[in-house]
């Protein structure tokens, strides 16, 4: 769908109050754990304390004998005929023959109270035969490493690699050796990043009710309730549409709530007990057994001439995604050099299994690790050649028509515009204090369209209700209402937007891939246009003229010109008030898998102070510049920029999964899984660049994910400049910085 010629907007670009604001500031909004049902039971999950173990026997008799216990389920209570990704999903939901990571679910209990369920779970006796485990990506690829699951590798893996390497990719173009030979400076570095967690504040929670007749209802916090429906029905052997899934308000997701963990277990418990079952994860369960990111071991080599032109680039990404295939090495490889125009480029990627939980998406999945490595090398090249890091990026920046490093040519994109805006920003030229370094980095996320279905209905008074299927994580209902109001020409306040259940619309992909405002927004605009066509037809019928002779503007039908006739305009309320007697209800609807999503580039500037005596880093100033295409509700666009930056800062400085030699997670509480707190951060300045996306009527680009990509390298480069040593391993914790300052390496 093409960009409208419209450039003047009445509602889009304004900052009205979000429709769910009142409920969220008064405590009324209902999240995953805020649902209750009559006769409801509480569930608790029995989890493996071992990273890798054979399940010899499960004896639930003592638990079942406990007063108040109504059901115990194990793997035997789920579908048995699954293969491929569905089998992986089930195996991750509840262990079969082996437990594959610390916290892997083994069984579950339903009881009349949460305390009884918790006590009963401790009485489920599981006999384990402990197996050797591996949690590090490089160790898992090495000869002699414990095999997580033989035969898990797919067609892409060349012979001779360890069975834990389950997918492989390799692509590029040109002659990289000739390119490096033409360079004035070549820099090659190894990098490592640890796994991190999305860190949403709301733990996974659901309320399930499944009958023996195979009909069920599920309330849960999710980014995509149609995905939940498909996954749960597959795992439980149900017909897809017999399960109605309602998405609660969602307390953060960032990709981590695009899959299922406890929902199928709650449904199985409900089916076994014949009652509704509520299941809520503890924070420890979330950290141990939901879906953190991949960790990565990387090598990047880039060559540059002394005037700043990149001549060649290669990258190798080894990424572990837990005990299942799926580490996002495909996205990492494709996006690693996405900022640069390269004739000679080569990528290699390995998807490696370890004894860790199955990785899930996390904001621009796979991209931040690659950006960390590539932008760090870019920075070192600029440093070595005495070039301004923004000028050097401008020399190589992709633009419309540039062939991307992964193949296709870019349509209109805004990298150059973000670089120019960053260079012009006062932050870039501000003086630096002692022991403080400045880092610059760019990043990209290509965004997504995906299956989308929306509906819109006109009320009797001319107000409008909109139903969308993409859960609202960060204010998207406000954006939908703005787009509907703009299209219909009616006040923002006259539009109500709901995230409706799976029985109310066609299939919707989750709110992932930065698609909600683009794809659901586009569908809402099209739904509104369909309704306008119908509204105009009613006016035409009333006036006795052709529908083509009716023009819709400012929320009313007008004769399109003097030739159409002299009629008093009919407002949406006028037409709606009579619709029952002029042909019935008036609605609009749109179903599509739109492909005109446009990617978003961003450039970040950060100043970091380092205490030379302790190695402690403090972010003292931060600026985000990013292309939004068109900011529908600028406050929530800024919010996405700021939130992405904060998560990236956490990833760079303090967040990490720490496993001991037995594969047990050492930091399964927020005390030790250290996400940034309010006093850790400065204000985060934002600049919204608008290079319209030609694939959306109003020019929208998704903005959610790009913002987490530049902070990793930007922070790392700032610290490297502050201390005079290149930091190549995340997190850049104080002990690592201190070692670097003391010249002891950065292990």
């Amino acid at each position: 769908m093409a960009l409208d010629s419209k450039t003047e907007f009445k509602y889009i670009g304004t900052r009205p109050d979000r429709p769910d604001g009142m409920d969220k500031v008064t405590g009324k909004a209902r999240y995953g754990a805020d649902a209750y049902a009559p006769g409801m039971l509480h569930g608790a999950v029995v989890r493996s304390p071992h990273a890798h173990a054979k399940i010899v026997k499960i004896d639930a008799s003592k638990a079942l004998a406990m007063k108040g216990v109504k059901a115990v389920v194990t793997r035997a209570d789920f579908a048995t005929d699954l293969e491929g990704e569905d089998w992986d999903l089930l195996e991750n939901t509840i262990a079969g023959e082996k437990t594959l990571y610390d916290g892997h679910a083994v069984a579950a209990v339903a009881a009349t109270s949460a305390l009884i369920a918790k006590d009963a779970a401790k009485l489920v006796e599981v006999e384990y035969e402990i197996l050797p485990c591996v949690t590090d990506v490089d160790a898992a690829m090495a000869d002699g490493a414990p095999v997580i699951r033989d035969g898990a590798a797919d067609h892409s893996v060349p012979e001779g690699l360890h069975p834990n390497v389950v997918r492989y990719t390799e692509f590029g173009r040109g002659d990289v050796e000739a390119g490096f030979a033409a360079a004035d400076l070549v820099v090659e570095r190894d990098f490592k990043t640890e796994a991190v967690h999305q860190g949403y504040i709301e733990p996974h929670a659901c309320l399930a009710n499944l009958g023996a007749d195979g009909k069920g209802e599920l309330w849960c916090c999710t980014q995509g309730h149609w995905f939940v429906r498909r996954m749960c029905t597959a795992l439980l052997g149900l017909e897809t549409t017999q399960l109605r899934v309602t998405a609660s308000e969602i307390g953060g997701g960032f990709g981590g709530k695009t899959t299922v963990f406890i929902d199928p277990i709650a449904l199985a418990l409900s089916r076994a007990a014949g009652k509704p079952v509520k299941l809520v994860m503890s924070r420890s369960e979330v950290l141990k057994a939901s879906g953190p990111t991949s960790s990565a071991s990387m090598n990047v080599k880039m060559g540059m001439t002394k005037d700043g032109k990149l001549t060649a680039a290669t990258a190798v990404f080894r990424m572990q995604g837990g005990a299942f295939p799926g580490a996002p090495m495909d996205m990492t490889t494709m996006l690693a050099f996405s900022c640069y125009d390269l004739d000679n480029v080569h990528h290699e990627g390995f998807d490696v299994m370890t004894n860790r939980p199955k990785q899930a998406a996390y904001r621009a999945p796979g991209a931040p690790m690659g950006a960390f490595a590539v932008e760090s090398v870019m920075d070192e090249l600029c440093q070595g050649l005495g070039l301004d890091p923004i000028d050097a990026r401008l020399t190589n920046a992709v633009k419309e028509g540039t062939k991307s490093s992964f193949g296709p040519r870019y349509k209109a994109v805004g990298l150059i515009e973000t670089l120019e805006a960053a260079k012009a920003h006062p932050h870039y030229s501000a003086p630096l204090a002692e022991n403080t370094g400045r880092g610059i980095a760019s990043g990209y996320w290509m965004n997504w369209g995906g299956e989308t279905s929306t509906s819109l209905a006109i009320g009797e008074d001319g107000t409008v209700q909109v139903g969308v299927g993409t859960p609202d994580i960060g204010g998207s209902r406000a954006s939908m209402a703005l787009m509907a109001a703009e299209t219909l020409g009616i006040p923002y306040e006259n539009v109500r937007v709901d995230v409706v259940d799976t029985a109310s619309l066609g299939v919707n992909e989750p709110s992932h891939g930065s698609r909600a405002t683009y794809a659901s927004g586009l569908a809402v605009i099209e739904s509104a246009r369909e309704a306008i066509t119908k509204l105009s037809k009613r006016a035409a019928d009333k006036w006795g003229i052709d529908a083509e002779a009716v023009e819709w503007r400012d929320g009313a039908a007008h004769p399109s010109g003097p030739n159409a006739g002299d009629f008093t305009p009919l407002s949406i309320a006028d037409i709606a008030g009579e619709m029952g007697s002029t042909g019935g209800p008036i609605t609009g609807h749109h179903d599509a898998s739109p492909t005109g999503f446009g990617g978003s580039f961003g450039t970040h500037i950060v100043d970091v102070h380092v205490d030379p005596d302790t190695g402690k880093s403090t972010v003292v100033r931060y600026t985000v510049v990013q292309d939004a295409g068109k900011a529908i509700h600028p406050s929530y666009v800024e919010g996405q920029f700021q939130g992405g930056a904060a998560q990236g800062i956490g990833w760079a400085l303090n967040e990490e999964y720490i496993y001991d030699d037995d594969g047990r997670l050492q930091n399964d509480v927020f005390l030790d899984y250290r996400i940034p707190v309010a006093s850790d951060l400065p204000m985060i300045d934002t600049v919204i660049v608008e290079v319209p996306n030609p694939g959306h009527p109003y020019g929208v680009r998704g903005v959610g994910e790009t913002g987490i990509t530049p902070p990793l390298p930007a922070v790392a480069c700032a610290i490297s400049h502050a201390i005079g040593h290149r930091m190549t391993r995340l997190p850049i914790s104080p002990p690592r910085v201190l070692r670097a300052i003391q010249g002891k390496g950065i292990s």
Binding site: D34, L115, A678
Partner: protein, 159 residues
């Protein structure tokens, strides 16, 4: 099971419930009193989503036992607005888009209300340190801090 009968005051109203001594005040508020505005984000006092006041003192309700509430005066997010009139902090949070997913918002509002009672003219640093125990993963805190500082200014100036 030895449940203890607890009589306490929540937002000015007397309430009674039976609590197992192991249940937290948060469990009791949510599951027994029907007030789900306080959220459990961690259960270990690290995230602040369950913030309430206990005899006027800001606490994590996950770190208070339900049985300890006997005879106490508890304030929750549900008591912050005066009927339909939002507290100025609540209104400013909406106006400034100081929430995205909103799960941390009740705790942050209860905490900042306590701050402004104690310190009507806080510095940015003071607000940030006061809220260090209220984790927000969506916003990067920027708009939250601005909303608190500007509400404090409005209240001082009688806006």
């Amino acid at each position: 099971m030895t449940q203890v009968h607890v009589t306490t005051t929540v937002n000015g109203d007397e309430v009674e419930f039976l609590a197992d001594p192991r249940e937290t005040l948060l469990d009791c508020l949510r599951d027994k009193v029907g007030m789900t505005g306080a959220k459990e984000g961690c259960g270990t006092g690290d995230c602040g989503a369950c913030s309430v006041t206990l005899d006027g003192r800001l606490v994590c309700s996950c770190l208070v036992l339900g049985v300890e509430a006997e005879g106490k005066d508890i304030g929750t997010i549900e008591g912050m607005a005066d009927g339909d009139d939002l507290h100025p902090l609540q209104a400013k949070f909406i106006e400034y888009a100081a929430l995205q997913c909103g799960i941390c918002t009740p705790g942050i509002l209860v905490a900042t209300e306590a701050l402004l009672k104690k310190s009507p003219d806080p510095s940015e640093e003071e607000v940030r340190y006061w809220l260090a125990g209220n984790l927000c993963r969506c916003t990067g805190y920027d708009k939250i801090i601005r909303a608190v500082l500007d509400t404090a200014r409005d209240l001082r100036e009688g806006v």
